[in-house]
């Protein structure tokens, strides 16, 4: 069902955890659907220098969470905002059709984390 890449990220998820002094936090999903992702980012000079996640969800949800943290670290905020859900799915060598909605979760949580960072900065 899942590609080897998905299984690798599921079995050895990268960047699990929280960032205590995060610059931005985003949460997406709800318990009804069985998928919640929370993403923390650390930003320096417009570049995401660290990202961590916690996810309640299926194999695809965990793998996409892990994958997106890997993808964003080192990217500028502008570059990070460009990351689409299909890009995440592609980076994982694809997802089963019924699981495509999980990749939305990750991209959406990232967007929220970036928005949160921007809002924080504005109000600071």
């Amino acid at each position: 069902m899942y590609s080897d890449k998905v299984m690798d990220h599921f079995q050895n998820p990268r960047n699990v955890g929280e960032i205590t002094n995060a610059d931005g936090v985003g949460e997406e999903g709800n318990v009804r659907c069985g998928d919640i992702m929370k993403l923390w980012i650390k930003v320096e000079d417009g570049v995401i220098v660290d990202a961590k996640f916690k996810t309640f969800g299926c194999g695809a949800a965990i793998a996409t969470s892990s994958m997106i943290t890997e993808m964003v670290i080192g990217k500028t905020l502008d570059e990070a905002e460009e990351i689409s859900n299909t890009a995440v799915a592609e980076a994982l060598d694809g997802l089963p059709p019924v699981k495509m909605h999980c990749s939305n979760l990750a991209a959406d949580a990232l967007q929220k984390a970036i928005d949160d960072y921007k809002a924080n900065k504005q109000s600071a």
Binding site: F10, C33, G34, K54, T55, F56, C58, K99, H101
Partner: protein
């Protein structure tokens, strides 16, 4: 440790003796059982023997057994067949909210065809109160269908009492006994059943074959029309090898029941007790009135599919009512019907034991599950120690 199979409620391997019994019918006794020549008569005889065996184990008569292409087909035949046949009498059907989809979706489809249905709710142990059935019966009720053992959380429904009520009210009663035939003793006459479905692959028989017991005098429309097989009630060239396999597996399950079931029950109870020690764990289903091989629990804060995948990595095959294993977003309709919240319902785990389950396997599972649950909880944004 080899891989451990703890999903016997989903399906079972075919017993070697059953395969042995089936093989001749692939090669030699391969004839069309409806033919007059010797090959056909041999096949017919094998079929007759299988029907007699099946009827004997269930306490039914020879002609009360219709072989089908599986449990789902048996359920569909029972429900649609009697609905169509009794359409002129009424259009109301009563069932429970925790039925297998083969019943639930069939009844829901009939709703699109002009029938009306009542889906009775269950209590927090997944039990249906017979009084509810009595109250739901209307003038135009033509069928009550309530499962015997629940495939997910294992509760055993009071089908005898419901059958009594149905008989008293002159309404037909069908039970989906796919999970109980092979493990609980079944006597259709004593239990007062009008119709009862079973499926061979749940008791170490082949897949793709099941049976519907239909009490003499109960009439139904066919689901599959065509040839005159199964006394005109199920068309299609008889799958003789599979039917032989069904009967052989059923007979063997019946013979070994007294030896095997107590042992499975003992292991089941050990497993259940061990898993309960994990914090924030809910045991689902009735504690006593329960399928002998069924363990079903919910671990708060985690989701079922990732639990299964982790267990699979440890070599353990298990199941979950998790939405993500079924491709939908809603978790198990059974757990929701029992009043569980979405959050908890998503984290369900079903372990179902079998005749080849060992003490060692149970030990291993009890060792691995807590570790996996922990690992996933630490990853969960909902969990705060």
């Amino acid at each position: 440790m080899d891989r451990i199979y703890m999903d016997h409620a989903a399906t079972t391997p075919v017993r070697p003796e059953v395969i042995e019994a089936m093989l001749p019918a692939y090669k030699e006794t391969f004839g069309n059982a409806s033919s007059v020549y010797s090959w056909g008569r041999e096949a017919q005889k094998a079929l007759d023997d299988a029907r007699a065996k099946t009827a004997a184990v269930l306490g039914a008569e020879f002609n009360e057994i219709i072989f089908t292409g599986g449990g789902s087909e048996a359920d569909n035949l029972a429900i649609k067949g009697t609905a169509w046949k009794n359409r002129h009498k009424g259009k109301h059907i009563i069932t429970s909210a925790v039925e297998h989809h083969a019943v639930l979706d069939t009844v829901k489809w009939l709703e699109t065809q002009g029938f009306e249905a009542t889906f009775l709710s269950v209590d927090e142990d997944g039990m249906l109160d017979p009084q509810q059935v009595r109250d739901a019966i209307r003038e135009d009720t033509i069928l009550i269908t309530v499962m015997h053992g629940n495939n997910e959380m294992g509760s055993i429904m009071p089908v005898e009492e419901i059958a009594d009520i149905a008989r008293e009210k002159g309404v037909l009663f069908h039970t989906d006994a796919v999970q109980t035939v092979g493990s609980l003793p079944i006597d259709v006459k004593e239990m007062g059943m009008d119709m009862l479905s079973l499926s061979a692959h749940k008791f170490y028989g082949p897949k793709g074959v099941g049976a519907l017991y239909v009490r003499k005098g109960v009439r139904l429309d066919s689901l599959i029309h065509g040839g005159a097989q199964e006394r005109n009630r199920r068309a299609g060239t008889e799958d003789v090898p599979a039917i032989i396999g069904l009967a052989e597996a059923l007979e063997r399950a019946d013979e070994e029941r007294d030896k095997v079931i107590p042992e499975i029950t003992r292991l089941r109870d050990r497993l259940l007790k061990g898993l309960e020690t994990i914090p924030e764990t809910r045991v689902n289903g009735h504690r006593k009135k329960r399928l002998p091989n069924n363990v079903n629990v919910c671990f708060r804060y985690i989701e079922g599919e990732s639990l299964l995948l982790n267990l699979d990595m440890m070599g353990i095959a298990a199941s979950s009512g998790s939405a993500c294993t079924s491709g939908s977003l809603e978790p198990s309709h059974v757990l929701l019907a029992m009043g569980l919240s979405h959050e908890i319902a998503h984290g369900s785990l079903r372990l179902t034991l079998g005749r080849e389950t060992t003490e060692n396997e149970v030990d291993y599972v009890l060792e691995q599950v807590p570790a996996v649950v922990n690992r996933l909880r630490e990853m969960s944004p909902l969990y705060h120690q």
